[in-house]
Symmetry: C2
Subunit: 614 residues, 2 copies
């Protein structure tokens, strides 16, 4: 197709836009699912996808291949260009993604808990701000050149805003990242989860307001802009700073923000609660509510963006106000949640790594200094605040690491400061590395501190190879033989040894269970880890079950002799997984090992949903 | 916030982007729901929202208010600017919306039906192309100046491409619009619906390929570009036309498109069918499948955009390939459907009216000529084709009006031709008016021809005023008195007359039903239309029901004497609406008339879902 002019997207732009979003989404979800399998928050894999697709790896590789003549075009620059229509359209889509993500995060907030924890939240967030802010302010004040102050962050006029900025950069908390981590760890609705979210919310509010002050303080004169391309924007920045963010303007912004927050959480919340039944009575259902709530969140997002506080705050506040209503049905929540968490959220997190080369701009001293000061300051400050708020030591530690996740918000602030000429690229990379590292470690550390353990599921023990569909066997011996043979291939033990051990156990008493199940099992000395092999036998084998039914789903459960508890765990997992008649029925209808696993996975998800508190 | 440079979105851009999307979505949904209440396809209201928000009304009003000094800024230009970052970002979002919409449309296509109808589809689409194409070609060939040929559409070199273009513009069918109309009318899955969709698909394929030929034929020299801003793009158009769309290039594009189509519908379809169980077995459920299918659709969309055939085709084909798999669960379909049809689709349709002033560029002769020729040509051509394919007269008529909807595709083509200097603004408006008019009328006309009647629901008879929550009455007489009084306010009859008539009926036999329901009713001579008043009585009134339970939901049903069938209809609607124990329970828990209606609306939607063929 055609280039429609400077203000339109060309066919190439659209191709790159769609492909770019598809690749971001695809890789982010693949790595996110991988992280989840290693029991990590999926946001970890999603951010990693961005680093891989960004200039650090994909970009560098493209450049290399072009230089070597293997590629005629730089693929990275084609798909994720640094300027032009597609970049703007992609940025717009990512902004909308971030906004919707924060809306979902807001929906999850239980306002009554937050209000109940008001005092604690203030303690945690203030203590969590003061300490890292001081660290950042002091080193920035004394070592601006070493740290990487930009052209407008040095000299008499630049020293103060640069120091304040670094203080803020050290003390900000990433609401979206931490909320996602809490959701992933399934503790977002716990008291501690809510305390972290309310503290982070206060924290960010203070941070953004502080950043507005930095902009107001920026020197108008004495500009040394090294990059000619930046002159235009920097000039505008200054004009903006003078016109819009003078000190009285800053005070006004703060006041309006607080009024907006107060109004939304009182009148706005009530209005949504009153409006929802009307929409549900008069509009198509459930689609009407869906449009309504997304519309409200976008309007609030636009409003806070207009105030200069960033769109994600408005969306978050809208989510809190709407999510509180008992009239928002489970089904609407679920549709919003599924679509946003599986489409928009991965795209947003992957986008973080998309604009930075983590190798060329890497200065180890600055990175370490920023990382250590931010982590130590934030963790110890929040810990102190949490202890003040009378939390136990374990909870206070977990919370303090939760508060340390800087994520996207730190990066957005850094980006703004870099564009304003306040910091240089090396400091920018240090801030990004710090933000990513804290985001990456806070989940796992919280998990360790809180001794959170994912309950294992039967499917965690299974691969395609461990499922046999319709074996040819016609009696118990043959069936155990087939299962043992497959187990032998997987464990490298001898099939005959397995067979003998299982048969020995079977001779004591047959292992048929009611409902067409059977669990032949054995403990083996030289087995390094548990091994499960399942046969789906459509004709059924008589395993002498109490209800007399032939076994159609037969699970061979082998466990190491020194792990007696694992045998119990596997037996109960197997029985529980197939306890519902519907699941057994579905398992009988499928045609391949993969489909068998799909049934199990789906059943586990349904089980988890049915038992979730929400 | 700050302007980050020419290739980034400023805070103002982001504010306008979020606000613009919110306003488009909000008004489109409000008018869409309104259209639905008048039993029209909701797309009608959605397109109308765009015309209201576009330059025609909102834009003109803003300009007027600024000129009069009532506004300091032109609100329309702030929210929907004609150039700059926000416009590009909004265009990108709209492109993605159109792509996802077509994906859902594709999901709904039942491939086996399309294949079964292959011959018919070819007849319908070819006949539907030949006639309007001839009309368009002939008048364009002889009257280029009158019609509004652009600078490159006149003279010896321009005559042929201009004539071909107008032929194509007359014969194109709008897949997204027509598909939405069919979905709205609930006949997308009928044989005729599938035939319309398969014909429209073939039709568009031919149309787009034809348009590529037009571009190849465009004269390189003899350019007279009146608008200096267009020079840049027009130059590029020519370069594109020469470099990329030479005749061998055209053939290649056609071949690759056909190969892509064939591969996706065979191997791609099989691959998706095989991949879905894997994703469902290994990824989180149901989110994993959601990401997977959206990702595939975006990749296919990018590929067809790259080919020059427009992204929506790839998404559509991906939808067809994936939707065919039995492994795509009902729940995943539902989440995709709800989110896309209620968020992306209204935004896309509203966007159509956003760039055109329908008043200033309106030339009645051209508009009428284009409208009449396109409609007559398309309708009679498709009718002829449908009769050839052995459809009955009624079905053939309905189908021919279905094929006449030109919608967005006609507009996109017109837009491209206008930017290429092939047509002028007046012809562009005529094409848009024709596209919109045909889109607006085709749904209602089909509805009339097919005598489609929406089954009425109880809620269609009710407003807040017709629901009484917890009246103070304690016996039958008082209750009927209260209900009659409310009915009198609504109907302007005398309360006493109603009371007397109802009581008379009640004396023959009490109207209590099992499950806590009661239906006092009467036929009245001077009642112009049926009137229902429902009382939700928490304590219950004894209406002598067979099961002895006091009535807690009491429906007063008044019908005109000359409509005996309406009384039966209302009685059965009332009984059916509250037949499920769960619904009665919910109705007892609510606190206001609106909430009561919300319960009814939700119940009706659940009912419709449970009985839908899908």
């Amino acid at each position: 197709m055609l280039q429609l002019g400077a203000s339109s997207l060309s066919a190439n732009d659209i191709t790159a836009l769609l492909l770019g979003i598809a690749i971001l989404l695809g890789l982010a979800r693949i790595l996110g699912e991988r992280a989840r399998r290693y029991r990590q928050p999926s946001v970890l894999g999603e951010i990693l996808a961005g680093i891989i697709l960004g200039p650090t790896i994909f970009g560098a590789l493209s450049t290399y291949l072009v230089a070597k003549g293997f590629l005629s075009h730089n693929l990275f620059e084609l798909i994720f260009p640094l300027e032009g229509g597609e970049k703007i359209a992609l940025d717009g889509f990512i902004t909308i993604s971030a906004t919707l993500l924060l809306f979902v995060v807001g929906l999850e907030v239980d306002l009554s808990t937050v209000i109940r924890q008001g005092k604690e939240a203030i303690a945690v967030s203030l203590a969590g701000i003061v300490l890292p802010f001081t660290f950042g302010f002091v080193i920035a004040w004394y070592l601006p050149d070493f740290l990487g102050a930009g052209p407008r962050g040095i000299g008499e006029d630049g020293q103060l805003p640069f120091a304040i900025f670094l203080g803020i950069a050290m003390s900000i908390t990433a609401l979206p990242v931490i909320a996602k981590i809490l959701l992933d760890l399934n503790i977002a609705k716990s008291d501690m989860g809510m305390l972290i979210i309310s503290s982070a919310m206060l924290n960010d509010l203070v941070g953004w307001i502080g950043f507005a002050i930095v902009l107001a303080l920026l020197p108008v004169t004495a500009m040394v802009i090294p990059d000619p391309a930046a002159i235009h924007s920097a000039t505008e920045v200054v004009t903006d700073a003078v016109n819009n963010t003078g000190s009285s303007q800053v005070v006004t912004t703060i006041l309006i923000t607080l009024v907006f927050l107060a109004l939304m959480l009182t009148l706005g919340r009530l209005a949504c609660h009153k409006a929802l039944p009307y929409v549900q009575a008069r509009w198509s259902w459930p689609g009407g509510v869906l449009s309504f709530v997304i519309c409200i969140s976008l309007i609030c997002a636009a409003f806070t963006e207009y105030l200069g506080i960033h769109s994600i705050f408005g969306a978050f506040v809208a989510g809190v106000a709407i999510g509180d209503s008992t009239h928002l049905s489970e089904r609407t929540r679920d549709t919003i949640n599924q679509f946003i968490m599986n489409i928009f959220s991965p795209i947003f997190f992957a986008s973080i790594g998309l604009r930075i080369n983590f190798i060329s701009e890497f200065n180890i001293s600055i990175v370490l200094l920023v990382l250590v000061l931010a982590t130590v300051g934030k963790v110890s400050g929040s810990y102190f605040g949490a202890r003040l708020a009378k939390l136990g030591k374990r909870e206070a530690s977990a919370l303090s690491f939760g508060m340390a996740a800087q994520g996207a918000v730190g990066i957005i602030l850094g980006q703004l400061a870099r564009e304003a000429g306040l910091i240089n690229d090396e400091l920018m990379v240090a801030i990004v590395v710090m933000a990513l590292t804290t985001s990456l470690i806070s989940g796992p550390i919280m998990q360790i501190i809180l001794r959170l353990q994912h309950q294992r599921k039967l499917i965690d023990f299974l691969t395609d190879k461990q499922v046999i569909i319709d074996p040819t066997s016609t009696d118990i011996m043959q069936t155990i033989g087939e299962l043992s043979k497959r187990a032998a291939e997987i464990t490298n033990l001898k099939a005959h040894d397995i067979y003998k051990a299982v048969l020995q156990r079977e001779r004591i008493m047959h292992t048929g269970l009611p409902g067409g199940l059977a669990v032949p099992h054995a403990r083996l000395d030289n087995l390094p880890k548990p091994c499960v092999v399942i046969a789906r036998h459509r004709n059924g084998i008589d395993f002498d079950a109490p209800d007399g039914k032939p076994a159609q789903i037969i699970g061979l459960l082998l466990t190491p002799t020194d792990q007696p508890e694992t045998q119990i765990e596997l037996l109960s997992l197997f029985a529980k997984s197939f306890s519902r008649n519907e699941i057994r029925q579905r398992a009988l209808e499928i045609k391949s090992p993969t489909e068998f696993l799909a049934v199990l996975n789906q059943a586990a998800a349904e089980e988890a949903e049915a038992t979730s508190p929400h």
